[in-house]
Symmetry: C2
Subunit: 303 residues, 2 copies
């Protein structure tokens, strides 16, 4: 019976929805299901009465909820109490990430971190995801949220937080690009890759992967524009300028996601492993280390 499981139960006991709880805790509904099952085995009684249409707490479940709240409360107050002990860490650390990461990933990490180390200031710098690793090596930032490079510098540590497939996207609005693609799709014909204008990353892993893909498919692409930052790609594609490639993470967090659609392309590009990275040297700094560990424990990676 560990804190993570209690947290999961507490969330589920409120949401009463396996899928939602799973999403909130970055795991699949099946994992939630099994987790509850394990807890029920350990308790020896059913905590939630459930069928396909509804989930509700049993009486024991309600008691368990009380226990779980107490237990989590004690854990938190213990965490609080040792905070100001010995080393009441304070200072500043610098975190670099893309705008998308700041919205989707970092927010989950930051909340527990702030609760735990309220005196550590975080300097959050956003920019093109492709620059994250370089910033670490330059020493400009302490920690970066970035995609794991194919070969990682030995001076860097990396911890995967999630995976995100690289998706081809094309405009959803009516325009020449969209018309061209749709007509080929509906007739089942091969897409005329050479005629399609591409919006691609200026540099970075997405660009490398895409170039490799073009080569392996024997395609010489018509590069319409090179931009920095995946978010910009979604914008341009949404406006009908061409076809682009972005990580799914960027797409689902984009306000423009309804303006574009995903193109099913075979073979798919190899997915991004998105995580945090820091130089081994900087990790010796207790502040950086604290952030690192906190993120590790609060953000459960998926697979």
């Amino acid at each position: 019976m560990d804190t993570r499981q209690l947290q999961l139960f507490l969330h589920l006991s409120t949401s009463l929805h396996f899928g939602q709880t799973g999403e909130a805790l970055h795991m699949s509904a099946s994992a939630v299901s099994r987790s509850i099952k394990r807890m029920e085995e350990e308790v020896g009684q059913r905590l939630l009465e459930r069928d396909n249409r509804s989930v509700r707490l049993t009486e024991v479940g309600r008691q368990f909820q009380t226990y779980a709240r107490q237990s989590m409360g004690q854990w938190q107050s213990f965490s609080e109490s040792i905070k100001q002990g010995a080393e009441g860490l304070e200072g500043e650390i610098s975190v670099f990430c893309s705008v998308t990461a700041a919205y989707s990933i970092l927010s989950d990490v930051l909340e527990p971190f702030r609760r735990r180390y309220p005196d550590i200031e975080i300097k959050l710098r956003t920019g093109d995801q492709a620059d994250g690793i370089a910033h670490l090596l330059n020493g400009e930032d302490d920690i970066a949220i970035a995609a794991r490079p194919d070969k990682l510098s030995s001076r860097l540590q990396f911890f995967t937080l999630t995976h995100s497939p690289l998706l081809f996207i094309y405009p959803a609005i009516h325009c020449s690009v969209e018309g061209n693609i749709q007509s080929h799709l509906s007739s089942g014909a091969e897409l005329p890759w050479q005629e399609i204008p591409f919006i691609v990353s200026e540099r970075g892993l997405a660009r490398t992967r895409l170039d490799q893909w073009f080569r392996s498919q024997g395609i010489r692409p018509d590069i319409y524009a090179q931009v920095s930052g995946h978010e910009a790609i979604v914008s341009m594609v949404g406006l009908g300028f061409g076809v682009g490639v972005v990580p799914e993470l960027v797409l689902v967090n984009s306000p423009l996601k309804d303006k574009v659609q995903v193109l099913d392309v075979q073979p798919p590009l190899v997915p991004f492993a998105v995580g945090m990275s820091a130089s081994a040297q900087r990790l010796e700094n207790p502040l950086v280390k604290a952030f690192w560990e906190c993120a590790k424990s609060s953000y459960r990676r998926d697979f």
Copy 2:
């Protein structure tokens, strides 16, 4: 931070000895070491100051000890509280095991079980370990602590609790058997197996294994006596009657362990997998199921 880890920490914070704590919780010292390390990572501070000669709590460790006691207390009182809820299980289950198992294994299982289900009576029946499986199939007992047979009846469930090597033992006192063996050992000569009187199990897995071993080595043993119950073998060997084979578990729990010594024999016999077994049918009984689950969670198997 789960209950098992807290329990481990609480034990260690009292014993201040990794090896002892490991033994008490059925794990190796290295596992204890890593477990503490993980907790320290999660807490973010050192809990125990330790070097090769001493282990002592840090200040944070003391606070953590308080937290751990509280937390475990809450868990226990929650367990108490739901006990009398819904199904205050009561009734009787019948457990069969050898005397050795009753001392060494069952005692660890029984204590938490009694705390949790005080109204379930346990009828404990001891006898030759070799009979355990048969008792289950006869329906004489609900659960048996026994060695896992080479082929397990499909009607039975088995859960391994620990492993125990099968050891050759010979008398430690001066006697003809001991003299014979020592003289060969000191001269480095092969042992004269045919001349050595053997005390063997009347039946059961130990007997089967030993017979196979004799065959594979091309030895026709001089069987001095066939006895039932491994404990009796230790007695007879200790008195100087001959050489016997017993699981290590029996040896270390025997009050006569100083009267015998282990003979290094190659190749060794394949170890016993000691665990609990029950018929699938009986496991549907909530009482039996409760015992089964309780034992599973309270007794951490080693490897």
